[in-house]
Structures are given as structure tokens and as C-alpha cells.
């Protein structure tokens, strides 16, 4: 950490508060309530009060095992293209290739301090699953991952990575076989095994205290970036941009900037192919929860959701599996309502173009999730001021197969000639 000042914790936001304004809460089966209380207690003692040096050990392991701090890199060619200063926060360089390890390692370590014996987690794209499997192996804890059947089939390499790191992978056949169903099934496991198992939830979603706990582990991103930008550019940025699925990289990137009222915060969701919801079929061809969702309760929290007027949760869509979720973290819903965070969305085509553009111009292959933040930069850079920080939440190696297939089926300006691969 540099000597530049970091923000003091906001006084008006007691960490034991169960809600963020009207959002959050603990809408879970009674059987889980005692476990949530136990977790609240552990969160207070180990994370907030650094009891037994928990946070010191966490930071040390994130350095030695996780590769932190990550650089804040000036993107020279993007800066030129957009005629302003563009800085990239390189979470793609965290061990495992995404910000997900910040949270996974924090929670697995916390579970250890709590005396839990078993780790379970859901995964969508497989990024959180692989990060949890890595963290669990690193800390010698048995680990089971629930993953929707559709995701198992479209994210094979990540399934292998989890297996290689010694985790069990349990495919979930219910519904559309994606993240939502994986979370349901992990909650069911937890409701059965709660006494000795910790559920490492993968984003700032779920019942209190998960949204705060995950945010605090992820806020290392903004703690570093806020110092780095002041050191490298001499001032705070005009805008900070991050993609948002559940919103963990998002709040991680925003948290320390929230009190800086001169800094605009943009949460970029997946616009998919359209922003409309098909009420009859219960389908949303997007995951733009913050922009288009309505208030309701899903997976333990009151938040903005993609749902029918009757209250059934709809199937979301995005070309990027990690953003494909019908809910979003309650803290982001709150910050959007108060106007502190501006929601935006970028469609599949724009994200794919941004994927190719960053690969082409900067020699960085970004995750398709992160490509949404970069797509927004292309579309809205004129509104973002002279100094912009964009979070590259992950690297795109996991997405190559999807991108090759999607690139063939679409007319993308920024795509290279991929025919060389066919000959």
C-alpha cells in the first residue's frame, strides 16, 4: 500500500445492519438462520476486528498464493483511441485468472477459522468454482461444487480444473441448468449439512452477511486501485467502470471510491440480445437486472430481479456465462436507487467486439464478462471524463471456444480473420 490516504469506513453504515436501504435481509429457511448468525459473528471477529490475525494471514496468502497486488496499467492504445487516459485494473492477473480468488480464499480461510470441515460452492461459468477449488486445496479442505448441467457442458475446461484441484463437481439438472439452479442446489446441500459445512457464495448476493463479507474481501481491488491511480496519474479518476453479474468485482472495484463523490461509478450488465422480457415464456434475453429489474426476493435477499409480474424468476441470458444471472447484489440495487451507481448495459455483439479489440490493441485477452465493461467504454467514453479506470475482472482463455463459435456466427467489426484456424 502507498502512503496515499484511504477512505475511513463510512460511519453511517454499521456492518451488522442486515440491509442496504430497502435491499438485503435474510430470506432463508429457518434451518440456516443459526448458521448465518454464526457467520455474522465470525465476520465481525475475524474480518472486521482482525482477531487472531485473520486479515493479516488473508493478505499474506493473497500475496504469495494469489499474486496480489495486481497492477493498474495505463492502456496506451486505448487511451489514444478514446482520446483520454484509460487505466486497466488487472484482476485477470490474479491466480486462477479472475478476481474470484479474492473472495474464495477469504471465505475458505474464514471457514477454517470457524472450525468448519467442508466447503461447498455454486458456480456458473466455473470461475468461482475453480477459485474455490484452488483455495480449498491450498488450505486442505474437502470441497464440492454444484454446477448447472448446461454450464458443465459449455465450460468443460473449468470442470477439469476443478477436478484436478481435487473438488467434486455435482451437475445440477433442474431448470435451465445454469447458475440460478446451481445456487438453489447449493442452498439445499447447506440446509442439510449446515453444522459442519461452509457455503462459499460466489458473489455479493445471498442473505446477510454474505453481501458485506464478499464485498469486503473483494474491496482489495479498489483499495489498491485508488492508491495506484493517485500515484500514477496524480489524482482520483473521473469514472470507474466494472461489469456486473452478481456484482462482486463491481463492488470490489467501487467500494473505496463510493465516498469520493467526484468519481462516477458505472456498473455494466449484459444486455444480451434484447432488453425485453418474454412474460409468457418466462425468458429474458439479457441479464440487465439493475437497468430493467423489479424488486423482489431471490436467494435470500431483497434485490432487483428479472421476474414475471406473478413473481416467477425468469431465465436470463448472456453470451458470457458469468453475467448470466437473474438477480444482483442488494448493495448495488441500493446504490443504483440512490443514484450513486449508474447502471448500463452492453449487448452480446458489443461485448464480443470489445473482447477482440482489447486482444488486438493491448495484447490482453479479457474475459467475456470484463468485455462488457470494455464495450461500454467504446460506446460511452465521451461521457466518462478524462481519466477512467476499467476493471478487467478476468482473463479470456476460458472463453476462446465460445468466442470462436460466436464470431463465426456474427458480423463483428473488431474480429480478426479466424480462418487460419480452419486450415
Amino acid at each position: 500500500m502507498s502512503e496515499t490516504e484511504s477512505n475511513p469506513p463510512a460511519e453511517d453504515e454499521p456492518n451488522r445492519e442486515r440491509t442496504f436501504g430497502d435491499y438485503g435481509g435474510q430470506y432463508v429457511p429457518e434451518a440456516l438462520m443459526p448458521a448465518l448468525q454464526e457467520l455474522e459473528d465470525a465476520y465481525q471477529r475475524y474480518v472486521l476486528d482482525n482477531e487472531d490475525g485473520f486479515m493479516d494471514e488473508f493478505r499474506e496468502r493473497m500475496r504469495d498464493f494469489g499474486g496480489r497486488p495486481t497492477p493498474l496499467q495505463r492502456a496506451d492504445r486505448l487511451s489514444k483511441r478514446y482520446d483520454r487516459e484509460i487505466y486497466l485494473k488487472r484482476e485477470d492477473l490474479v491466480h486462477g485468472g479472475a478476481h474470484k480468488l479474492n473472495n474464495a480464499l477469504g471465505q475458505v480461510l474464514l471457514a477454517k477459522y470457524m472450525g468448519k470441515e467442508r466447503i461447498i460452492a455454486e458456480t456458473g461459468a466455473g470461475q468461482h468454482g475453480t477459485a474455490t477449488a484452488m483455495a480449498a486445496t491450498h488450505l486442505d479442505m474437502p470441497c464440492e461444487i454444484y454446477m448447472g448441467r448446461t454450464d458443465v457442458n459449455r465450460q468443460r475446461p473449468n470442470v477439469y480444473r476443478m477436478r484436478m484441484n481435487g473438488a467434486e463437481v455435482n451437475p445440477v439438472d433442474a431448470g435451465s441448468g445454469t447458475l440460478k439452479e446451481a445456487i438453489n442446489e447449493t442452498m439445499r446441500d447447506w440446509a442439510t449439512t449446515v453444522e459442519r459445512t461452509h457455503y462459499v457464495i460466489g458473489s455479493i448476493v445471498g442473505p446477510h452477511p454474505f453481501p458485506r463479507l464478499v464485498r469486503d474481501f473483494q474491496s482489495v481491488i479498489s483499495a489498491e486501485a485508488r492508491d495506484q491511480i493517485q500515484e500514477q496519474a496524480g489524482r482520483l479518476p473521473d469514472s470507474v467502470v466494472a461489469c456486473a453479474g452478481g456484482g462482486s468485482n463491481t463492488m470490489g472495484t467501487f467500494h473505496e471510491f463510493v465516498p469520493d463523490s467526484s468519481v462516477d461509478l458505472y456498473a455494466v450488465e449484459a444486455g444480451g440480445s434484447s432488453l425485453e422480457i418474454d412474460q409468457d415464456e418466462g425468458l429474458a434475453p439479457n441479464s440487465a437486472t439493475l437497468s430493467t429489474g423489479t424488486d423482489g426476493v431471490l436467494h435470500g435477499a431483497m434485490t432487483k430481479l428479472l421476474q414475471t409480474t406473478d413473481g416467477q424468476i425468469v431465465e436470463s441470458h448472456s453470451v458470457s456465462a458469468g453475467l448470466d444471472y437473474a438477480g444482483v447484489g442488494p448493495e448495488l440495487s441500493h446504490l443504483v436507487d440512490t443514484g450513486r451507481v449508474t447502471p448500463a448495459s452492453v449487448d452480446d455483439d458489443a461485448a464480443l467486439n470489445a473482447f477482440h479489440r482489447l486482444s488486438n490493441l493491448e495484447g490482453i485477452i479479457p474475459a467475456l464478462e470484463s468485455s462488457h465493461a470494455l464495450g461500454f467504454l467504446e460506446e460511452a467514453h465521451e461521457e466518462l471524463g478524462d481519466l477512467v479506470v476499467v476493471n478487467v475482472s478476468g482473463r479470456g482463455d476460458k472463453d476462446l471456444e465460445t468466442v470462436l463459435e460466436e464470431t463465426e456466427n456474427r458480423d463483428l467489426d473488431a474480429a480478426p480473420d479466424v480462418e487460419v484456424f480452419d486450415t
Binding site: G25, Q26, V28, P29, A31, A35, A174, N184
Partner: protein
């Protein structure tokens, strides 16, 4: 039993549990496989001796449910079951047993034109429902729904889990409305082959609380019902075992209704047998001191 709570007016649900004690509470998912079938099935369960009937209003993310009821919910949703049609069905039902709706909180919140629990409760009262059970609503989040239920004279039934203890247990047991839904084991709903040790532990732990207690999660046979009632429960709740019968028989098939009715009879007989055995023990133990109040 709640006999001592003379100050409060006895609800339909409390009366039903007291009148034909020990009580059989049956559950099926509304709309599985169609709402017309549900009507017939509810009548069969009523004839078979159910003292209370729970109707599941299907929600797309049933996190407290095991595979059996998840599948029933999928069938019901595929058949186009909506809250509006559900209430139309309840409007038509005429049963001796009071009816409860079991659904997830989001379904209750979304019933009106904006997120608010009151329109749902109002419509439920209108349709003649006597109570609501919400598996994802712990006591801590229940104030708005409790207020609305109080206003309309509905019972809001809370679940007590094997992990519920200490101050929270006291608080939940002091606010029991209708009956305490005692979750027999950790995990999700689903028929099981035996009565868990957790059930016996829970009933022992809860024996000091003078409120009606009904045990659910895993109960599937008359013998289970007997064992649970003998161990101190006032009622048994059976869901997955009935849903399994519906799934086996398929749609528009009269034998499903017959099977439900005879299963209900078996369960009710078991409950009565358990009650007689318990009365036998209690008479033999007349000299024993009263358990202390917590």
C-alpha cells in the same frame, strides 16, 4: 395444546388440531398435474381424514424442496398455474379441513401491482384460506406479513428447525400462530423410510413449550405418524409421500384420488394409534412431575 390461551380467540387451525387430536396435515402442490386434478385430490384428502390441508402455490426457485416436490412444482408451472388461477380454485373448494397456502415469499410480495404483502393476504382471506406457511421467511423478516395476517385473521405458521435454539427458539415459540411446524430433520422435503433421531430430540427439546406442534419433513407412513405422535407431537405433516402418489398415477386418473384418500386414512389411523399409546403412557406416569417451563 393451546387450551390455556383462553384470552386469544381460537383460530380455525387451532380448533381443527384440537377437535380431532392428533391431527393429520396433508400437503400437495396446486396445479400438479392440473388445477382440476387438484380440486379432486383435495376433496379426497379431506374425505380421508385430513384435519388441515396445505396447498403449495408453485414458485420457480423452491430452495426448501427435495426432488419430489421440485418435480411437482415444475409440473404445476408447466400446466400454467398462476396465483390468480390458484385463488380461483380455492374459491371453489368446500372442505371440512381448513386450508393453508404454502409458498415462497416472492410470490406473496408480487401479487399486487407493486411489491407488497397485503394484496396477497387480502385475497387469501377472501378465498377462505386460514393460514400461510412461507419456507423462506424466518421470524426476523416476518413483520410485514405477520401484521397483514393479523389484520385478516390468518395464521402465519413458522418452522422450527433442528438447529433452532436458545433465544431464537424462545422468541419463535412465544409467537406461535396456528401451530409450530417442527422440521423433523435438516435438509429438504422428501419421503423417508424412518423417523429421524432429530425428530425425537426436537420433540423432547420442545416439550416444555405449551403450543400445538406438528412434525413434517420425511413423514411417509402410518407407522411414522404413530411414532411421532407418541413422542409428543400434536400432528403430523405429510407432503412428498402424497405427491409421489400423484406422480405415479398421472393426470386425469381417478385412482390417484383413491390412493390419496386411502393414504390419508392410513396416516390418520397411525396418528390415532400414536395418540392412544401416548395417553396410555401418560396415565401410567400420572405421579411424574410436570416438565418445567423454559
Amino acid at each position: 395444546m393451546s387450551g390455556e390461551q383462553t384470552a386469544a380467540i381460537e383460530s380455525d387451525i387451532e380448533a381443527a388440531i384440537r377437535e380431532d387430536h392428533p391431527a393429520l396435515i396433508t400437503y400437495i402442490t396446486a396445479g400438479d398435474p392440473s388445477l382440476e386434478d387438484t380440486k379432486e385430490y383435495v376433496e379426497a384428502l379431506d374425505c380421508g381424514g385430513s384435519d388441515l390441508i396445505e396447498l403449495g402455490l408453485p414458485f420457480s426457485e423452491p430452495i426448501a424442496e427435495g426432488p419430489t416436490i421440485q418435480a411437482a412444482i415444475n409440473r404445476a408451472l408447466d400446466a400454467g398455474t398462476t396465483p390468480a388461477r390458484f385463488f380461483e380454485l380455492v374459491d371453489e373448494l368446500e372442505t371440512d379441513a381448513p386450508l393453508l397456502v404454502m409458498t415462497y415469499y416472492n410470490m406473496i410480495l408480487q401479487y399486487g401491482s407493486e411489491p407488497d404483502v397485503r394484496p396477497f393476504v387480502e385475497r387469501a382471506a377472501d378465498a377462505g384460506l386460514s393460514g400461510i406457511i412461507v419456507p423462506d421467511l424466518p421470524a426476523e423478516e416476518a413483520d410485514p406479513l405477520r401484521d397483514a395476517c393479523d389484520e385478516h385473521g390468518l395464521d402465519l405458521v413458522f418452522i422450527v428447525a433442528p438447529t433452532t435454539a436458545g433465544e431464537r427458539l424462545d422468541r419463535i415459540m412465544s409467537q406461535v400462530s396456528g401451530f409450530a411446524y417442527v422440521q423433523a430433520r435438516l435438509g429438504t422435503t422428501g419421503a423417508r423410510a424412518d423417523v429421524s433421531n432429530a425428530t425425537h430430540d426436537s420433540l423432547t427439546r420442545l416439550s416444555a413449550y405449551d403450543v400445538p406442534k406438528a412434525v413434517g419433513f420425511g413423514v411417509s407412513e402410518g407407522d411414522h405418524a404413530a411414532e411421532i405422535i407418541e413422542a409428543g407431537a400434536d400432528g403430523v405433516i405429510v407432503g412428498s409421500a402424497l405427491v409421489d402418489l400423484i406422480a405415479e398415477h398421472g393426470t386425469g386418473d381417478a385412482p390417484a384420488a383413491d390412493a390419496l384418500e386411502s393414504k390419508a386414512r392410513e396416516l390418520k389411523r397411525g396418528a390415532r394409534r400414536g395418540g392412544e399409546q401416548r395417553n396410555g403412557h401418560e396415565q401410567g406416569r400420572e405421579e411424574a412431575p410436570e416438565p418445567e417451563q423454559p
